[in-house]
């Protein structure tokens, strides 16, 4: 009986019987931003990833995992985002897969390499494109999942969370409408394969290479680009960050201009998710004008 009561109290905790600020951890900045907007002052939102590190490939140490385990909520992006989740021990009761509602719309990775060994035959490491939030409809669904999860933890604040979510959803819908208006089939290049959802949602004719903004592509990469341009004569290349001036110069010589469309996976140095996305959308709209 004592244990049954304990289990019930645990569940009660899970559904929000305890007062006080929620401790919310997020695996990337977009989710942290959504949680901050939805929860307002009622949650302490933590993005445990150090500045300048890509949260998708960041690895926490044991101490950090311990802190994350103690949080009230851990917001997951889903779509196989954050590799460390594959080997960390977590609670189902405290994790929220924010993209669960559109799991059937994940975009599989096109270039996954299979491997074979032993009797199990050929197999690939399962994967999907993970920058889901660049489709602002998806972003709104993720924010909605956060509002629901926080509401379950603090039922008394459910209406506050819902109101805050609606304000956020309105901002995201405005970005969505603006990008929808671009509606261009002109060829576009991406420096990195992270814009799959952006391209799908906004009908962009986008093809991608695999370059990093802070490194200069080698000869093979330039050749690959030239081959790609033969069938995909793009005039713009979008980047996650400001490209190296030398790369930008050579691209310009090839008739390709560069613009930054920052996925904002980690907390920006200036502004917030919304201001970064607004700048992204404005720049992209201007390029297609």
């Amino acid at each position: 009986m004592k244990r049954a009561l304990l289990a019930l109290s645990m569940l009660a905790q899970a559904v929000g019987a305890e007062p006080g600020d929620l401790s919310v951890y997020a695996v990337n900045y977009p989710l942290a931003y959504f949680a901050e907007r939805v929860a307002g002052t009622h949650a302490d939102v933590v993005l445990p990833v150090p500045p300048g590190v890509d949260p998708a490939f960041w690895t926490p140490d044991i101490t950090t995992i311990g802190r994350i385990q103690e949080g009230d909520v851990l917001l997951l992006n889903g779509a196989y985002y954050a590799k460390w989740l594959q080997w960390a021990s977590l609670r189902i009761s405290r994790t929220v897969d924010t993209s669960a509602k559109f799991r059937d719309r994940y975009l599989p990775l096109q270039d996954s390499l299979t491997h074979s060994h032993g009797p199990s035959g050929e197999h690939a490491h399962t994967g999907a494109a993970f920058t889901t939030w660049l489709d602002f409809q998806h972003a709104a669904l993720q924010a909605s999942a956060i509002a629901e999860a926080l509401g379950r933890k603090r039922p008394a604040l459910r209406s506050t969370f819902q109101k805050n979510y609606e304000a956020l959803a309105k901002d995201l819908a405005a970005l969505d409408a603006e990008l929808k208006a671009v509606n261009s089939t002109r060829p576009l290049l991406a420096s990195h394969p992270v814009y799959q959802y952006l391209a799908r949602r906004y009908g962009l004719n986008l093809k991608s290479v695999h370059w990093e903004p802070d490194s200069i592509p080698d000869d093979a990469q330039w050749s690959e680009l030239e081959s790609l341009l033969a069938s995909h004569p793009a005039e713009w290349m979008i980047w996650e960050g400001v490209p190296d001036p030398e790369t930008e110069k050579r691209l310009r010589q090839m008739g390709i201009r560069s613009l930054v469309f920052d996925p904002s996976a980690n907390r920006p140095d200036e502004g917030d998710f919304l201001s970064v996305m607004r700048r992204n959308v404005d720049d992209l709209s201007a390029a297609f004008r």
């Binding site: 044991i62 609670r91 390499l113």
Partner: protein
């Protein structure tokens, strides 16, 4: 007067040591057996029902409900058919209960390896007494009895046992690192080796770690390579221990929803949610079943008590026979002691004095038996918890 009789009776039973010991032994046994049986059954009933009543619902594959409950609650060797992580997701998606997945298939040095999530520790109210809780793949948190019997503590390691020595392509031992030891819970959890679910899938071979084949150039490791696939030779070694250095090379194959479990403990917030959830598993073509462990254990106890009734009848008959034998022993003893009794009469003692002497002898024998039975029962009570778990529940 009474004290004199008791003294003479005492001298007599001490003189007749052999006869006295036999009588005390018989009475002790016949009294101890039903009492011990009663105590052990009461303890097993307590243990079975308390853990069962603490576990609201268990979802598993259709089949023996008893195997499902005994495996999930007491980590019994008998394995129910496997379900998959989709079963966990189904409970989670229902929003009617918190799912706690459990995978009890493998063993380590004779103790069951219980693959689960941290929710299990919250649900059972288990505390880590030494070290820390599970954090990463390959970590294990062991029960207090496991730690005691194997002499293990945080920082030590423990190997999972291969399922069959003849299955060369099957399950390979995984070296697990002891991250913590649980405080004693006086339940089956004391006898378990807890790991993250993902670690059990690594033990099973669904997940594994090896060098990056995409970057591998050693021709003795890479047999064939094209744009989309790399075929490794048998030289490719799979890691048998998960360390900080190789942890990130571990990966899983196939759809996560298909990864196996033996059961999902469902913890609904209220009775209404429990009833609605149970209703969702009633379809005739349903592949999973949902059981109330309390009901399954009650059925088991009913069978145990039917057996107990038979045992009680046997003990009653044996008891009656023993009592008759004891009466006979005393009757024959009176015959043998006829001359002695005549002497007592001649000394001027009345019949009542003789009766008092004989009564005192019986009293001493019965009291001696009662004392021994009492001592045995106290001893048994002290070890009944572990004895029941070792002999009956495990």
């Amino acid at each position: 007067m009474m004290l004199d009789s008791l003294y003479i009776a005492w001298r007599y039973v001490v003189f007749q040591r052999g006869k006295t010991a036999t009588l005390v032994g018989c009475i002790t046994l016949i009294a101890f057996l039903p009492l011990a049986l009663e105590l052990l059954l009461a303890e097993s009933e307590r243990q079975l029902t308390s853990r069962a009543s603490d576990t609201p619902l268990v979802v598993g594959a259709r089949g023996s409900t008893l195997d499902l409950v005994m495996n999930t609650l007491y980590f019994d060797d008998e394995q129910p058919a496997a379900v998959s992580m989709a079963t966990t997701q189904r409970v989670l998606d229902s929003d009617l209960a918190l799912p706690v997945p459990v995978y009890v298939r493998f063993r380590a040095r004779g103790f069951p390896i219980v693959g689960t999530t941290l929710d299990y520790f919250d649900f059972r109210g288990l505390e880590v007494a030494e070290g820390r809780t599970l954090a990463v793949l390959g970590d294990t948190v062991i029960g207090a009895t496991v730690a005691e019997r194997l002499g293990l503590g945080p920082g030590d390691s423990l190997l999972s046992a291969p399922e069959s020595v003849f299955d060369l392509a099957g399950v390979y031992p995984l070296k697990m690192r002891v991250a913590g030891v649980l405080a004693r819970a006086h339940t089956s959890d004391d006898l378990a080796v807890f790991v993250d679910l993902k670690s059990t899938w690594v033990i099973q071979g669904i997940g594994h770690g090896h060098q990056d084949l995409a970057a591998a150039t050693d021709p003795t490791v890479v047999m064939k390579r094209d744009d989309s696939n790399v075929v490794a030779t048998a030289k490719l070694a799979l890691h048998t221990e998960i360390t900080e250095a190789n942890r990130e090379s571990f990966h899983f194959h196939g759809a996560p929803d298909a990864y196996p479990l033996t059961a999902v403990i469902a913890v609904p917030p209220d009775q209404k949610s429990a009833t609605i959830l149970r209703g969702r598993y009633l379809a005739t073509d349903e592949r999973d079943q949902i059981v109330v462990p309390g009901e399954v254990v009650a059925g088991l106890l009913e069978s145990i008590f039917r057996i107990k009734n038979v045992l009680d009848a046997v003990i009653l008959i044996v008891g009656l026979a023993t009592v008759l034998a004891i009466v006979l022993v005393f009757a024959l003893s009176l015959r043998l002691r006829e001359r002695e009794i005549q002497t007592i009469f001649k000394l001027g003692c009345s019949r009542s004095t003789v009766a008092r002497l004989l009564g005192s002898e019986i009293l001493i024998i019965v009291c001696a038996s009662a004392l021994i039975v009492g001592a045995l029962m106290i001893g048994l009570d002290g070890i009944s918890n572990g004895l029941v778990r070792g002999l009956i529940i495990r």
